[in-house]
């Protein structure tokens, strides 16, 4: 069985993870640090000390916006904090310069940072998503490359079409496309499994197109193909789980076939990478 990688797609290298931890720490450090320095300098009679506090808040806002940007789920409030910092601290205003505003702003940034951490997920590959494969999806594709490499380019292209149309929700088209594959002249060791994947996708697409519920009997992968599946079939799960797991595995097999054999289709597959990754991660 293609071992499901424990690596999360959004999981970063140790260096990146450390950098992000430092950046998270830098938000309160810069904002409150600037205020603390301003207090010290103010005590010595330097009246422009509030500018240091403002600079700290601006830098902290930029860091917070960067942390929001690298998350797959975007927090528009955190993303716009540099804009607010410019409006509050750079543009001329009638406000009397003092440390009250930087203190309130620093508290707001810290609250936004906590909100970002707990409500908008971990920093991920949002920026690189769409340019290259990553995480457990890449691992699965690498692991099945050898088994799928002899699939005909035509079949691989049909796999691309079926996957992309499925992602787009054009289920009637998926059913039609999948019906054209008969496992004709591909690698004998694998074509049966691929044909089964197409028939599972076709069955689900036909049901989805008519908004029908799970039928009493349905197609699943045989045990002999377990080593080619992305997600293991666990014993003791209910029929619904087995039914939808078969679809996830079938779609991921089409994705892997398309990626490994049909290089010209890579841009289309990369555009649907998020969906494939979601299938890979779902329980």
């Amino acid at each position: 069985m293609a071992e499901k990688c424990c690596e999360d797609p959004d999981q970063l290298s140790e260096t990146d993870a450390r950098l992000h931890r430092w950046l998270e720490l830098a938000v309160p450090l810069f904002s409150f640090g600037g205020i603390a320095i301003a207090f010290l300098i103010l005590g010595q009679g330097y009246l422009q000390a509030f500018r240091i506090a403002s600079a700290g808040c601006i830098i902290a806002s930029i860091i917070l916006a960067y942390l929001a940007w690298i998350r797959p789920k975007k927090d528009i409030v955190a993303l716009t904090t540099p804009l607010y910092s410019v409006i509050l601290f750079v543009l001329p205003s009638d406000l009397v310069p003092d440390l009250i505003l930087p203190i309130l702003y620093a508290i707001s940034l810290t609250i936004l940072l906590v909100r970002l951490k707990y409500r908008f997920g971990k920093p991920g590959t949002a920026v690189t998503m769409g340019k290259e494969l990553g995480g457990s999806l890449k691992n699965y594709i690498d692991q099945t490359r050898e088994a799928l490499k002899n699939t005909s380019p035509d079949t691989a292209h049909i796999a691309t079409l079926a996957f992309v149309q499925f992602a787009q929700g054009d289920y009637a088209k998926v059913a039609r496309i999948s019906n054209t594959v008969t496992g004709r002249d591909d690698n004998p060791g694998c074509d049966h499994c691929l044909a089964r994947a197409f028939s599972i996708v076709k069955e689900h697409a036909s049901l989805l197109d008519k908004s029908l519920p799970r039928p009493y009997t349905y197609t699943v992968f045989d045990q002999e193909f377990a080593n080619l599946l992305a997600k293991p079939v666990l014993p003791g799960k209910d029929d619904d789980h087995e039914f939808y797991l078969a679809l996830d595995n079938a779609l991921l097999m089409l994705y892997s076939t398309a990626w490994n054999v049909s290089e010209k289709d890579h841009p289309h597959l990369l555009a649907c990478q998020m969906f494939a990754q979601k299938l890979m991660d779902a329980e």
């Binding site: 797959p72 789920k73 975007k74 528009i76 992309v164 992602a167 787009q168 929700g169 289920y171 989805l208 197109d209 908004s211 619904d240 939808y244 555009a271 649907c272 998020m274 969906f275 979601k278 299938l279 779902a282």
Partner: protein, 167 residues
């Protein structure tokens, strides 16, 4: 309030604004003869603070009522996990449990709906015909959109939400 077959709801914010300006106007007219002479247009203007939100709500609700049968016919029933960026613009039907409700008081409710495959935000740009609460099991008809119009994760722009089972 029901106008025709449309259940019109005014948000608590619009009512609060109306109450605030009513008190303000009463107070001002008691102490200022100048204000009293202007009451002939101030009182209708005051009522417009209620009438305009009601009219807007009526128009949006009746528009949504007209769209509902179209979505009913065209939307495909999908599991939440299947909703992705490539489906932007597609009508969908989802069923799930309400995990959170936001901004109901503004007549712009947002729901977090979950099924066994995942969870998704459902945004409604008008008031909901039913009072939806956390843990209600609902069916949502809507269109897949991006959270911030051109970017963000996919969410459902809700046309209709109704309870299908008591919580």
């Amino acid at each position: 309030m029901k106008i025709g077959n449309v259940d019109v709801k005014v948000s608590i914010v619009a009512v609060a604004v109306f109450v605030f300006f009513t008190i303000f106007l009463l107070y001002a007219s008691l102490y200022s003869p100048e204000v009293r002479s202007q009451l002939i247009w101030m009182i209708p203007a005051l009522f417009l603070l209620l009438v305009i939100p009601m009219a807007l709500n009526y128009m949006s609700r009746s528009e949504y009522n007209n769209l509902e049968p179209i979505y009913e016919a065209e939307a495909k029933t999908v599991r939440i996990k299947m909703i992705n960026e490539s489906m932007v613009g597609k009508p969908v039907r989802i069923q799930g449990v309400v995990e959170r409700v936001y901004f109901q008081f503004l007549n712009r409710p947002q729901y977090l709906i979950a099924d066994r495959s995942g969870e998704i935000s459902v945004k409604m740009f008008t008031s909901s015909p039913e009072d939806i609460k956390v843990k209600d099991v609902v069916e949502v008809l809507g269109q897949v959109i991006k959270r911030y119009v051109v970017t963000g994760d996919p969410v459902v722009n809700c046309i209709s939400i109704r309870k299908i089972e008591k919580s």
